[in-house]
């Protein structure tokens, strides 16, 4: 039954010709439907990428007074890149970022996994507990920063409840400030780990677990041999997700310590922020940014290759 010339009951003016044909043709419809996304992608990738490369080979700063397209007047290649390579502060910032990742992600994972095991069977109040435990994940990260800022005050509850004197400071202490950031991060994101790992755990077929039990396996053995292997893909996804996001950590630092004391909690994002709005060295920042981009892309490709082993679970 041809429908090209029927009125479409959605109330839109009847379109004859091109649009009704589009509606019937998968290729054309597909084109138009993906168009907004493609346009947005192009918009945000193409021009900025070109500009980024361009700026990275200059020493431009908006403070110079010249508009960006005249930045070539300050041409400097590969000066900015050399600078990045030799920049101690940059590497320190990277190091601190890595430190945060290496400490918080395993802890979040272990806690999330532990919580998940608690939720596998039914028990009274399960839904209530579940809702409560997911809450931190839904708090605005900047607010989380604020919350822990309040808690870690020298006159705040943590010092009070641990019986520590007012002189014992967290946020302004060179060694302990990092801890406050890590605690906030763990508090915020453990629920996400918990949520995803629980879903993975629940998808393990129950009769395989029963079968294993009947064959004599203890609960620990079941977890190690049946549950964990079957959760492999979920575990990889959740770790990848958190790793990528953790690298970008910024909000809590900006609210809690501003990278301080000094630069003790300055992560790579915050360092870039400081260069951008503190020193206004935008050419340099472009170079750093591009280097990070390339570095991360190479890393991602390598990891994807590693992870692309034939999946044995299906």
């Amino acid at each position: 039954m041809p429908n090209n010339n029927h009125s479409n009951h959605t109330g839109a003016p009847e379109a004859v010709g091109y649009w009704s044909q589009v509606g019937s043709s998968p290729e054309r419809l597909g084109f138009w439907m993906t168009l907004p996304t493609v346009l947005l992608l192009l918009f945000i990738v193409v021009f900025p990428a070109i500009m980024q490369v361009y700026l990275s080979i200059t020493m431009w700063s908006p403070l110079d007074g010249t508009p960006w397209y005249l930045a070539y007047q300050n041409f400097d290649f590969p000066g900015q890149y050399w600078r990045a390579l030799l920049d101690e502060e940059l590497w320190n910032a990277l190091g601190r970022t890595l430190l945060i990742m290496v400490v918080t992600i395993p802890i979040q994972f272990a806690l999330g996994m532990g919580l998940a095991t608690l939720f596998v069977d039914e028990f009274p109040g399960k839904k209530v507990f579940y809702s409560i435990l997911l809450t931190p994940m839904m708090i605005v990260p900047a607010v989380t920063g604020l919350i822990f800022y309040l808690c870690f005050q020298s006159t705040g509850p943590i010092n009070n409840h641990l019986g520590l004197p007012v002189s014992f400071s967290w946020l302004t202490d060179t060694d302990r400030a990092m801890i406050t950031i890590m605690v906030a991060d763990i508090w915020q994101w453990t629920p996400l780990m918990f949520l995803i790992l629980l879903a993975g755990m629940l998808s393990v077929p129950n009769d395989q677990i029963l079968a294993a039990r009947l064959l004599g396996a203890s609960e620990v053995q079941i977890f190690r041999r049946i549950v964990l292997p079957r959760m492999k893909s979920v575990i990889i996804i959740v770790l990848a997700l958190r790793t990528v996001e953790s690298f970008k950590i910024f909000d809590s630092i900006s609210v809690m310590t501003k990278g301080g004391p000094g630069v003790q909690t300055e992560t790579i994002s915050y360092y870039i922020y400081r260069l951008t709005f503190g020193d206004f060295e935008w050419g340099y920042v472009a170079a750093i940014g591009l280097s990070i981009l390339i570095g991360l892309t190479v890393l991602a490709v390598q990891l994807l290759k590693l992870g692309a082993k034939p999946d044995s679970n299906k």
Binding site: M33, M51, A142, L150
Partner: protein, 286 residues
Amino acid sequence: MKTPLSRHLVRYAFLALAVFLVCYPLVWMTTMAFKPYSEWTTVGSGLSWMPRKPTLQNFEFLFYGRAEGLYVTLDKTIFQPFWASLVTSTVGTLIAVVSGTLASYAVVRFKVGASLPLQVLQLRLFPPLAVMIPVMVMWAFLGAVDTWWGLSLMYGIVTLPFAFWLMKTFFDEVPIEIEEAARVDGCSHWRVFWRITLPIVRPGLATCALFVFILNWSDYLLALLLTQKIWVTLPVYMATLTSAMGGQMYGMKAALGLIAAVPPVIFGLVIQKHLVRGLTFGALKQ
């Protein structure tokens, strides 16, 4: 096999600990929001969870710019930032969800843009600050800085990957037979999408919208970079206010945090059940 009592008890013990750790900071902030100035920094035995003299003073301060007994005033109340957050989050969500839904459906059904899923994912891969300078310059060039549409557009772009992937997992699960049956009856591809498929994924669509909304509402960095005075969103307002307030004003800060935190938590509770899907990109066989 009934669960032995000991197992229940151990479980509840751990749960209690977890709940305590989760609630501790939240309760502290909540109660602080209602504490008057005198109770903000009591130490030692003076420190208590519940305010001795609960007050709405802190909220008053935020909403009216001043409060009784305080000698500080605010030159910018909370209304505009709240509104800014609302507008930009909503419009950004619309952009992301509409584009993402249309595109993911096309990828799933029409075999176009096979590289789109991965390309779209890339948007989330890189630290925003590493790539924001050109964006800021572009935005300035377009006159989009400190505008509602400038920020909304950015929000739409940045949450597009989530909308795309989430809706993709939902579309993957719609059995093609339903659509083919409608096609046999004479529906065009577009009508099938609009009239048949979309209603089926409506709950997923709602979940996606709420999830993206929460993400946009939670944003701090982008708003920080792309707004200045007028369209500052709630998190940025909160951050600038807290630094301006200096070391004290804990009550106000707490009240601020509370106001900023509440909407996404409420939405989050609503969509809890469905949250997992997009986040695991279909790795779970449901």
